[in-house]
Assembly symmetry: C2
């Protein structure tokens, strides 16, 4: 999916919501456990109830990988079930030497047909480059994450008086462009988003920190939005685990709708 | 496997060789393609012929993941086939927020029973910590890799006039110890290994850069060895693809034996 189509979906749905499919067998409603593929059954209902409010789905690959071969089957079925006009993100945080990154790229882009994948920057250009060689596919590069450990290395001051995440954003703009690269930007403080937005005015940001990880949607929009919206804001647990009963799908839809209404307001305002 | 047992194996075999199982369907001998599980058939013969010369096996997870559910089955069968006294490394380069890293740790340490996993440091302490909570299991943290892109961020000068990889090594020693943490140290230049050895005198290094990636075994031993050897030197393509004929297993064994003899000499010398 290209940038224009993504922005088109955002306008059509008045939403920049990404639903995180961090589906965990120990957290899904117990009545699903008798089904042949409980993970897919869960995801299917979540998708049925949230698709009108979301512009992206982001399965965190760890949740599927933890279940072995069966998990990969559930993931593929989920991906095939997501409507074609919704952007898909493999939250995999991969990154390896060139020929290995090529394999990961083929696995996620060709074999599974994801639109994008999250990538870790530590190994540099030749670890990221192979993901950029696929037409219509995207790299979402970790820049400033929302976890506590982001303070260990990402904000270290480096050459030119620049924090490490700034080096990542500046250098990577020589590798890709706003049509094939996004950045993960944690939403813990509005002023930080403003700082990152100044470094990459035209790129989309994937913002993981709204909801369970804390972070204000208003601040994210105020400081992060650009002319093409430029934001995909993720919510996982707050939506998919809104209820542990048989009404989980419906309740997920209600939570997604609530966020979508707020996003519609913010798209008007900023 | 604990540090003492690993060193015991190194002494017993006079070897610090790690064989990289980067098994690629497009590179294995064509006569194997008719087998039910060509990847496992290949790995089985490689293991049969190299086990007496190697102290570790390192499947690069990308090669298996690229084949979907079937690849994970081949990986599990391979892992089950590796003799118990040989150290196993999941070359996965994972790293995510805490609860997700926990899932990856369970997948690789409990479900698949690897001894260790390679982890990327960018997300900091709470992304690495979950891997350190398993008795007898190891984190192998990316410090200084051997690819060209290692120059993009890993060697950037940071606070205290320290390159980023030094920050990674220093900080991570507060998270783990030489009994549960190793470092990936690229073998392109001896002086660099010397520099890293000074930062982590007692830790094992996994050295990926000997063989196809260039790098001298003599230099690695001279500058990197410590009282417990402290080195696992990996060779992948030079061993497993030594021949593309029916003699591939035997030829792999010969290449492994050659490296082992050189390592025996170096273990005597340094």
């Amino acid at each position: 999916m290209d940038k224009q189509s993504l922005f088109g979906q955002i306008q059509k749905k008045s939403s920049f919501l990404c639903v995180g499919l961090d589906t965990d067998l120990s957290k899904i409603p117990p009545h699903l456990l008798n089904e042949e593929d409980p993970i897919f059954s869960f995801n299917k209902q979540i998708i049925d109830h949230t698709a009108e409010f979301a512009v992206a789905y982001k399965p965190n690959i760890a949740f599927y990988e933890a279940m072995g071969a069966k998990g990969w089957e559930s993931l593929q079925k989920t991906l095939d079930y997501i409507p074609d006009d919704i952007f898909t993100i493999a939250d995999a945080k991969r990154g390896d030497i060139g020929n290995t990154s090529s394999l990961y790229a083929k696995a996620f882009f060709e074999k599974m047909n994801f639109d994008s994948i999250t990538v870790a920057p530590y190994m540099g250009r030749d670890s990221v480059g192979p993901f950029l060689e696929f037409d219509g596919k995207w790299v979402i590069l970790l820049a400033l994450t929302s976890n506590e450990g982001s303070q260990d290395f990402q904000v270290l001051n480096t050459e030119g008086d620049k924090p490490l995440f700034q080096q990542v954003i500046e250098k990577s703009q020589q590798w890709g462009h706003e049509g094939n690269m996004m950045y993960v930007v944690g939403a813990t403080r509005g002023e930080k988003i403003k700082e990152v937005r100044a470094l990459a005015p035209d790129h989309f940001f994937l913002v993981p920190g709204v909801g369970a990880q804390g972070g204000s949607l208003e601040e994210v929009a105020k400081y992060g939005m650009n002319d093409s919206c430029g934001l995909l804001v993720n919510s996982s647990r707050g939506i998919i685990y809104a209820s542990s009963g048989e009404d989980f799908g419906q309740r997920a839809g209600e939570e997604a709708a609530k966020l979508q209404r707020e996003m519609a307001r913010l798209l008007e305002k900023y």
